[in-house]
């Protein structure tokens, strides 16, 4: 019921390609899981209930505006294949 189309759309948004030969079984799995999700729809929640996004209730850390060590990017590229004169090589953007 439209799950294959939904999967295509989600796959475009998340840049996660799906093996289209197995899309049927994936659709069945996702449908089953979303059915499990749908259970929360039966709950009537009073308007005034605020969503809870974190259970951290302490004082949030903030930082001072002074410099600490920077590391550079070299250590990420032991093979030297990712960098070109210090820049990271990327596929074409246009």
């Amino acid at each position: 019921m439209g799950w294959e189309k939904t999967i295509k759309h989600l796959s475009t948004l998340a840049l996660v390609d799906v093996d289209m030969s197995r899309v049927g079984s994936l659709a069945r799995d996702l449908e089953k899981i979303v059915e499990m999700f749908n259970k929360i729809a039966e709950l009537n929640i009073p308007e005034e209930v605020e969503p809870l996004y974190t259970t951290f209730f302490g004082e949030i850390n903030v930082g001072e505006d002074n410099e600490l060590e920077s590391m550079g990017i070299g250590e990420l590229d032991p093979s030297g294949k990712r960098l070109e004169s210090g820049y990271l090589k990327s596929p074409k953007t246009l």
Binding site: L15, V16, K32, I40, T54, F56, R82, K89, P91
Partner: protein, 484 residues
């Protein structure tokens, strides 16, 4: 303490014993290390607890340097197995994924730094479900880890490698992470002790995020005392994590005593011991409750119908956060690489993410994207966040009357390999009793409560925020006995 057949007497000693013996004779540490590597040599090929194991010579060299400097610290040279989603400078950190097969981080997670500063030695990086998504360690991109008690069964997940390394005496203790039960479930299935701390007690800096509002790093040990010793070291404020509590460090070891430190009032939530729980598990659970009653602990029953909604609430939130946290893996800066010349970025990203992520990860990314998308956000993500508030409030109310709650860690014995992996709902249901704790940010510990047919059964104790001391004390009552 009951140990699986892989352990030897020397390889199964506790941190405290290790510390004492090394103080008497510094060479003891090398004997111990050699013994642990002997166990590894013999069993690791079957068990596959590790993704990356450091060669013994490297470990010995590191220890020699520490011994030369004179101070071993509170961990006394303990060999710490670290889950492979915790960043280790210079040691590859794969998260159990093809995506990060060759990723060698340039920095240490705060917990790893603290372990090293306290005389702990990282022995290797342990196997896990890819990006901690799974409950059996079968979702590792490399290989599954087997349960040391029965090689035909899973060790639980997602921290199966950490739990097995400890259970089978291939390490002294382990670090793992718990988003919805990933420490407690494998601890229960392997007969070890695993603790998921209060959200914010242990720094997340360097833990590769799965569900950021749910994730916590915690220890796995063969006994409560070892778990307390590691918690002492890794807890405490970290300025690099915005969600790190400003609390004092340590002091947990003093709670590990064989008698109750206060007259505990403990609650059993009926929903956690009724539907879907294996009869045999219930029998073991009830014997543990009886044992506690003998310790002058009050045990009462309460209902919490809202828990019926905890599984969907948990999975909606975890997948939403996961879809966001895993967006950064595109192969450009780190991780598997593709040639870039002459190609368009979007094609390269698609190719990398297709090759780098496994099926379960893709499923969760797609569903996380789904629940956050325009038009569905309010019905799924926002609604789940509201249910989360209600669950949180229920627990807050509950713990006004009780010091702690107790439940089975898992409704079932460890499943056989391939038994649940093909059915996502069956797989997710293994977490039924562990996920509510993460939704509410509470601390919880899983401790062995007995054996059925030679397989360990875990009991979960959880309590209000920052009640780790009481949980360790109660766990010790259940554990009884010594600690190797």
């Amino acid at each position: 303490m009951t140990l699986p057949p892989q352990c030897t007497q020397l390889s199964s000693i506790s941190i405290k014993t290790l510390r004492r013996r090394v103080e008497e004779d510094p060479d003891f540490l090398f004997k111990y290390i050699e013994e642990v590597y002997r166990v590894i040599e013999k069993y690791e090929e079957r068990l596959r607890a590790y993704i990356t194991l450091r060669p013994m010579s490297d470990v010995i060299r590191e220890v020699e340097n520490i011994v030369k400097r004179g101070k071993l610290g509170p961990l006394g040279g303990a060999l710490v197995a670290v889950k492979d989603n915790i960043s280790t400078r210079g040691i590859r950190t794969t998260c159990g994924s093809k995506m990060l097969e060759d990723y060698v981080p340039p920095y240490d997670a705060t917990v790893v730094r603290k372990i090293k500063e306290s005389g702990g030695i990282v022995i290797g990086k342990t196997n896990m479900d890819e990006f901690a998504m799974g409950s059996t360690t079968e979702n590792s991109a490399f290989y599954p880890t087997l349960n040391p008690w029965d090689l035909s069964r899973v060790p639980g997940g997602s921290s199966g490698g950490s739990a097995v390394a400890v259970a089978a005496c291939e390490a002294t203790v382990a670090l793992a992470s718990d988003t919805g039960g990933s420490i407690r479930l494998p601890a229960a299935y392997t007969g070890t002790v695993g603790l998921k701390p209060t959200y914010g007690l242990v720094s997340r800096y360097g833990l590769v995020a799965y569900g950021s509002s749910l994730d916590q790093v915690g220890p796995i040990g063969r006994c409560v005392e070892d778990v307390a010793a590691v918690l002492d070291v890794i807890s405490g404020h970290d300025p690099r994590d915005s969600t790190s509590l400003k609390v004092g460090v340590g002091g947990f070891e003093k709670y590990v005593v064989g008698s109750p430190l206060k007259k505990y009032r403990i609650v059993v939530i009926e929903e956690m011991v009724s539907e879907g729980v294996d009869e045999k598990i219930l029998k073991t659970f009830n014997s543990v409750v009886d044992l506690l009653s003998k310790h002058d602990v009050t045990v009462e029953f309460r209902k919490m119908p809202l828990l019926h909604y905890s599984l969907p609430t948990y999975y909606i939130i975890a997948m939403a956060e996961a879809s966001s946290n895993l967006a950064r893996f595109d192969g450009l800066r780190y991780g598997i690489r593709s040639d870039v010349e002459g190609k368009l970025w979007v094609d390269v990203y698609r190719k990398i993410r297709l090759a780098g992520f496994g099926d379960e990860v893709k499923r969760r990314i797609l569903l996380g994207t789904y629940v956050l998308s325009e038009g569905l956000y309010e019905g799924y993500y926002l609604k789940a966040a509201k249910v989360r508030r209600l669950i949180y409030q229920e627990f807050t109310k509950l713990f006004k009357d009780y010091d702690a709650a107790i439940s089975p860690t898992s409704p079932t014995l460890p499943p056989r390999i391939s038994e649940v992996i093909t059915d996502p709902i069956k797989l997710y249901s293994l977490d039924i009793d562990t996920v509510p704790i993460n939704l509410a940010g509470l601390p919880a510990i899983s401790v062995p409560g007995g054996f059925i047919d030679g397989l360990p059964v875990g009991v979960q104790i959880f309590g209000p925020p920052l009640s780790e001391g009481s949980l360790l004390n109660i766990a010790k009552l259940i554990e009884g006995g010594g600690c190797g």
